[in-house]
């Protein structure tokens, strides 16, 4: 009669140690296969992909394997007259890729190679009357974009350019009965969205709007018997939630509510021993965004370092609950669950 728990079984033969070199090779090779099918099909997120790859390489201290000049030239080519960035040359400007661009520029300490004033102007124009943000001029509203906007501006030291109070009001209007957050007022809670909203509130110094115990409980209930985390109740585990859930817990000071050893076992089992890279769950195909989420999550979970200086935002607020609150600044665009 009962619903069976959706989960996976980790086989004994699954990898048990971190194949760091293989992952670095996977990422280093990724950008070189320009006529690869998967590579071409994912052009619509290229700039984000570059940010993920670079951050992962930076985490494993191999950033110098990537061509800085080539990357910066590409980033510059993605900026539009309005100040926003597209995912690739010729693609339309959008907040998602504007944040990725800013992140890459901050990572390389090269913000000055683009027109920063215009970037700020672009972000500013996307704020709506109710405080929300649209991703671009076509009007899709989502709390992901609220996060992108404040993260972008905070990285550029220009948070005051927007109406922060209204932006916060909109995000809190998306809070739900379980303490979590959804895309828009009325939308269901989702771990990726929680990361965006909690991150947004941390950056703006308004974490007191979060009921940390209630939300922390919901988040630690994402851990399944296999050790993996899902993004919503009654769903399969997916490695990307190691990022969304862990960072959210870290920000609200409840990361110890997760069983670290079990999660580590699950994450290591998601590695592809053949090609390098991580899959969403043990035995699946490697996917593009996973390397950085997962190396990031390994770091967050393992407490190896509290965050990488160049891409960490130190939130300005009176009452930091735990460590560096915002960790790595990422965007929640790739959810499919």
């Amino acid at each position: 009669m009962g619903t069976p728990v959706k989960d996976v079984v980790i086989s004994d033969s699954a990898p048990k140690s971190l194949l760091l070199e293989k992952h670095a090779d996977y990422i280093a090779a990724y950008g070189k296969k320009k006529d690869d099918y998967e590579y071409c099909m994912t052009e619509y997120l290229r700039l984000s992909g570059i940010y993920w790859g670079l951050t992962a390489m930076d985490l494993v201290k191999q950033l110098d394997r990537m061509s800085k000049e080539e990357v910066l030239e590409f980033v510059q080519s993605c900026q539009h007259e309005c100040g926003g960035f597209g995912a690739s040359t010729g693609h339309d400007p959008h907040l998602l890729y504007t944040l990725s661009a800013v992140q890459v520029l901050v990572l390389y300490d090269a913000v000055d190679c683009v027109d920063v004033g215009k970037v700020i102007e672009f972000v500013k124009t996307l704020q709506e009357e109710d405080g929300s943000f649209t991703g671009d001029k076509w009007g899709e509203v989502d709390t992901r974009f609220s996060f992108c906007a404040v993260a972008c501006l905070a990285l550029l030291g220009q948070l005051d350019a927007i109406d922060v109070d209204k932006a916060v009001d909109f995000v809190t209007s998306c809070q739900n009965f379980d303490g979590g957050f959804g895309c828009r007022p009325g939308s269901e809670t989702h771990a990726g969205q929680i990361y965006c909203c909690v991150g947004m509130l941390a950056i703006t110094g308004r974490l007191h709007h979060v009921n940390a115990d209630l939300l922390g409980w919901w988040l630690c209930e994402r851990q399944l018997p296999s050790g993996g985390l899902n993004g919503r109740p009654e769903k399969l585990p997916d490695l990307c939630y190691s990022w969304w859930v862990l960072t959210s817990l870290k920000i609200i000071g409840r990361i110890h509510w997760i069983d670290k050893d079990k999660l580590t076992r699950f994450m290591l089992a998601c590695q592809d021993e053949e090609t390098g890279g991580f899959a969403d769950r043990p035995g699946d195909m490697v996917t593009v965004p996973h390397p950085v989420w997962d190396s990031g999550a390994v770091v967050t979970g393992g407490g190896v370092t509290e965050g990488h200086q160049s891409c960490v935002l130190h939130a300005r607020r009176d009452d930091p609950p735990s460590g560096h609150p915002t960790g790595f600044i990422m965007t929640g665009t790739r959810d499919r669950h």
Binding site: D92, N176, G186, G205, E234, D238, I258, T287, D318
Partner: protein, 565 residues
């Protein structure tokens, strides 16, 4: 794309796949180039729809291509008559349905559908609602589709009552439907509002919900959805901002105000002080001098403002929705005078239950206990029984609650730390309720705390004993602004971070902990410490603690009970 199983393939298979992909890629690249060319040349025609459609059907996350398509439609909007447009948009809806069947979770496709409905001459909302029903049949948890449904409902004025019925039907066909429970939590406060009740819903309706959710968890006690919803029903309403406690410190010439919720002075609330009716100008700051929300606000008493003789100090907190005030009688000979709100701390931890709710909760507890008999290993049942007992009477049920939390640690070992912290919280709340805080001394020793809860509400404590617990950090202690004597002997503390802002700390006892690094003592630098007990920490074996401490703390008189000469 997530969730693709990796299958081992032979060299031939790999080669075949490569050739196949190469072919597909050629077509895809050619189509993309053609679409970009047409856009650049302003060719917003049927051919442009065809070519962008081929790309988007396979790759619906390609947002630029959706934008192109929108431009084409806006162009045609200006150049075709209404019937032509209606037909065109209808076929676009068919195309989108096909795209959604191929990839039901693309943000771009769903958003484009909203665009079409908002742009077309005669949208058929009923048909759209049916489409939602269909896609929620395929996957009842597809949050994109639920969001689209809310969009349709808003545009077409479907009643919230009808939507509530939809969720009832969804739930009766499958209790395990978190999305439906979620939707109910949004609809109920809208249809049956009662701002004074815990969930914002009228009490008689809440009682009906208890029935429904009980049916759900009796049917499937392992399903999370119903339990989370139940927890919400048991929850309490939004807390209001008020004055927690106030201290007028004449020695340091300061006024310290603690609010029940974090505030930003003067942006969200104003704090006004009057002495015997005359206004005293204040400059409020937080304890750490940062700009931001805080429970604690401090201001110096202006130098030229004389508080002499016995007088009355009135503090008023005024915000957009709240206003309250309190009075302190300052005696001529007193150095310090404090005010504590009469209801605190009880008001923070207890939900005010009406008689009807109490009866219901008791009945609920009986049912949950009955389920526990049948399912002794079910953690949801146990946790809910704990919540119910806590709501009903946290003191008389204290032992049972603690025992059940202990059981949870064993049966749900992934979340041991959660249960331990919860135990610490409940225990602290009970002890706080039994403590007279105006004595400004709190003993929480030997009760197994893993974390120190509610420190934010205790800034006026002068003495705190947290010894013999399982604490690993002192971070929370930083909120206790007035603290002078702290004992944390016999814990697992390895860091002293948190103590740097306790500017009145005179005595600290931190024996038998895990302090290893000499650098930790730097956090004590700003404390006017006179007495330090540090024996029994690893750092004592590696460095000369005496000389390190004496270097940092010039006013030190005693270390580990030995006077400093």
């Amino acid at each position: 794309m997530h969730g693709r199983l990796k299958v081992k393939s032979t060299e031939e298979q790999k080669e075949a796949k490569r050739i196949e992909q190469e072919k597909k890629l050629k077509l895809y690249t050619a189509a993309t180039e053609e679409a970009f060319r047409k856009r650049k040349d302003g060719e917003y025609d049927d051919e442009a729809l065809k070519v962008s459609g081929e790309i988007l059907y396979r790759n619906s996350d390609f947002s630029t291509m959706w934008n192109f398509r929108k431009e084409i439609f806006l162009h045609m909007n200006d150049n075709k008559n209404e019937d032509e447009l209606q037909e065109l948009f209808d076929s676009e809806l068919d195309f989108l349905e096909a795209c959604l069947k191929y990839n039901p979770k693309s943000y771009g496709t769903w958003h484009h559908r909203c665009f079409v409905l908002d742009t077309m001459p005669r949208p058929d909302w009923e048909k759209e609602l049916k489409l939602c029903n269909l896609f929620l049949q395929y996957d009842e948890r597809n949050f994109h589709c639920w969001d689209y449904r809310r969009f349709i409902v808003k545009r077409s004025q479907v009643t919230p009552e009808a939507e509530l019925e939809f969720t009832t039907n969804k739930i009766s066909s499958n209790f395990s439907n978190y999305s439906s429970w979620h939707y109910r939590s949004k609809l109920l406060p809208f249809i049956h509002p009662d701002p004074s009740s815990p969930a914002g819903v009228k009490e008689d309706i809440l009682l009906q919900e208890y029935e429904m959710v009980q049916n759900a968890f009796f049917t499937d006690p392992d399903d999370q959805s119903a339990w989370f919803y139940y927890r919400w029903l048991l929850g309490r309403g939004k807390k209001t901002v008020g004055i927690n406690c106030v201290c007028c410190d004449k020695i340091h010439s300061k006024i310290i105000v603690s609010t029940t919720e974090p505030v930003l002075v003067p942006d969200t609330v104003e704090l006004k002080v009057e002495v015997d009716g005359s206004h005293m100008p204040m400059t409020w700051r937080t304890a750490s001098n940062n700009i931001g929300y805080s429970n604690l606000w401090i201001s110096d008493i202006p130098e030229d403002f004389k508080i002499s003789g016995s007088c009355t100090l009135t503090l008023t907190l005024g915000g957009s929705s709240t206003s309250c005030s309190c009075e302190l009688l300052l005696q001529d000979d007193s150095t310090e005078e404090c005010y504590f709100h009469k209801d605190t701390p009880a008001i923070w931890f207890r939900s005010e239950l009406s008689a009807a709710a109490t009866t219901t909760l008791k009945r609920e507890l009986d049912s949950v206990k009955e389920l526990h008999e049948m399912e002794p290993e079910n953690k949801w049942v146990l946790l809910t029984s704990i919540s119910l007992m806590k709501s009903l009477d946290s003191h008389s049920y204290e032992d049972t609650i603690m025992d059940e939390l202990k059981t949870l640690e064993t049966i749900d070992s992934h979340r041991t730390s959660y249960y331990r912290d919860l135990r610490s919280k409940y225990l602290t709340e009970n002890i706080l309720e039994r403590t007279d805080l105006s004595k400004r001394c709190l003993r929480l020793r030997d009760v197994g705390l893993t974390v120190f809860y509610h420190a934010k509400l205790l800034p006026l404590l002068v003495e705190l004993d947290l010894s013999n617990n399982r604490l690993t950090s002192l971070r929370d202690v930083r909120h206790i602004y007035c603290l002078q004597r702290l004992c944390v002997d016999d814990n697992q503390i390895s860091k002293l971070q948190g103590l740097e802002s306790i500017v009145h700390l005179k005595e600290i006892s931190i024996r038998n902990n895990e302090i290893k690094r000499e650098e930790e003592f730097q956090f004590l630098r700003k404390c006017p410490l006179v007495v330090v007990n540090i024996a029994g920490n690893p750092v004592c074996d590696s460095v000369n603690v005496n000389s390190v401490l004496r270097n940092i703390l010039t006013g030190l008189k005693k270390i580990d009970d030995i006077k400093i000469s």
